[in-house]
């Protein structure tokens, strides 16, 4: 069969909502797009542990510490589900991780912002995980089977992340004057970066879009961003806090909230590596990898020893 014929069959399957599985024929570009996207998603989960990990030792109570530990452990788990989904496309784990360390592969820019106060941990759960959930719920219906299945698992766990964040801010919002200020300050700093998570505006590109046609993605950046704004604009009222946007207003005609313009210069700057913590994050990952080398080697040596012993017995 010619490539053209195979591509036609492939597209018919996609259109009929039949999932693509690892051993099925797929266009090279489909494989590459999925590898890039899934590995980027995995890296984001792993790097995402760093800003939150920063507060584990300084959580205000044992309860909050246990919750934060569980959340960060979940992020590690999510990274692992995604790395294993990525491997089904024929790329090795080591290659994927090398691409992160060399700076070739990206991760979500949101993790290049620092966590300055305890309230940031609540804001990350509510806003950052909230934005991620918008994307991930859509991805539970993505066309590549292993990716979709990993997303189902992740979405089940992600809901806890958003709820604990909101609840943590709710406590601060009912606290002392200082606590209220901390809460508002964290919202001020995380709101715009959270909106940037959805990527450039749809009008930025006029080209026909393959990711949509292949059903890797099912909603556009602006659609997802609007859904997010509509959700958060209501929830912030419960906190008695404000979103830092003067242009935010309900539009009765559109049945959506209107909102202000994102600072796209900042967006591109952080993507290109000039965010507040880009270097720090990558250095931390590389350090962990290099300093863990002896552990990986020791485990291999121990496994060999155990094998030899069981043979002798």
């Amino acid at each position: 069969m010619s490539v053209q014929e195979l591509e036609k069959i492939f597209q018919v399957k996609i259109d009929a909502e039949i999932k693509i599985e690892p051993k099925d024929w797929m266009p090279d570009a489909y494989r590459k797009t999925n590898i890039r996207q899934i590995s980027q998603h995995a890296h984001s989960e792993i790097v995402g542990m760093l800003p939150e990990g920063n507060w584990i030792s300084r959580a205000p109570s044992l309860k909050r510490k246990a919750i934060l530990l569980a959340k960060v452990q979940d992020e590690a788990g999510h990274g692992l589900y995604l790395y294993s989904a990525c491997e089904t496309l024929g790329i090795s784990r080591e290659e994927t991780i090398n691409d992160l360390h060399s700076g070739r592969a990206k991760y979500s820019s949101i993790f290049n912002y620092p966590t300055l106060t305890w309230a940031d941990i609540g804001a990350i759960g509510w806003l950052v995980d909230g934005a991620a959930i918008m994307n991930q719920v859509m991805l539970t219906r993505t066309s590549y089977g292993p990716y979709a299945r990993a997303m189902v698992r992740i979405c089940k766990e992600e809901s806890f992340h958003q709820r604990q964040g909101f609840e943590s801010l709710l406590v601060l919002s009912k606290g002392t004057k200082e606590q209220k200020e901390l809460c508002q300050d964290a919202i001020n700093r995380w709101w715009w970066p959270a909106l940037m998570m959805f990527g450039p505006k749809d009008t930025e590109s006029t080209n026909s879009d393959q990711s949509m046609k292949w059903k890797i993605k099912r909603k556009s950046n602006d659609e997802l961003r609007q859904n997010f704004v509509d959700m958060i604009a209501e929830q912030v009222k419960i906190l008695g806090m404000k979103l830092p946007d003067d242009k935010l207003i309900w539009n009765e005609e559109r049945r959506h909230y209107d909102f202000g313009e994102i600072d796209w210069n900042e967006f591109w700057n952080v993507v290109k590596g000039n965010g507040p913590c880009n270097k720090q994050r990558l250095d931390a990952r590389k350090k962990a990898w290099e300093e863990g080398e002896w552990v990986r080697e020791a485990a291999t040596a121990y496994a060999e020893k155990r094998r030899a012993r069981s043979k002798a017995a």
Binding site: K23, Q40, G77, E87, N98, S102, S108, G199, A303
Partner: protein, 120 residues
């Protein structure tokens, strides 16, 4: 296939072409891949949940516990090294499964029985 300039989607930022890949020093510590199967409760089958890397079977089970059962999703874990799994070829799906297609008499609904025959 036409090369198309893609939109930048959430979670899909193009890779830098400039960064060279790091070449790994050695592959000695490369742990094999294991497939993980979990029984969610007594009485149910083990079901495939994903894969992971581990130095040996014992470690694979310990890692599977941490990665796949953080919320009491399982009461029993199987691990098997991925290389030991033989899978059917999707291209041979026709030969493999078509013979069953025209044998509808293997299904109970093929048989029209009078209404008086309840629950058969």
């Amino acid at each position: 296939m036409n090369i198309q300039i893609r939109k930048l989607y959430y979670g899909d930022i193009p890779e830098d072409k400039t960064g060279g890949a790091i070449v790994s020093k050695d592959t000695k510590s490369d742990w094999p891949l294991w497939e993980v199967f979990i029984r969610s409760k007594q009485g149910l089958d083990h079901k495939h949940v994903g894969s992971l890397h581990a130095a040996d079977a014992q470690m694979a089970i310990e890692n599977a516990r941490d990665v796949y059962t953080r919320r009491m999703e399982g009461v029993s874990i199987w691990v098997v090294e991925s290389k030991h799994i033989t899978a059917s070829n999707p291209e041979e799906a026709g030969e493999l499964y078509e013979p069953a297609v025209d044998k509808i008499y293997r299904h109970p609904t093929f048989y029209d029985l009078p209404d008086e025959v309840n629950h058969m």
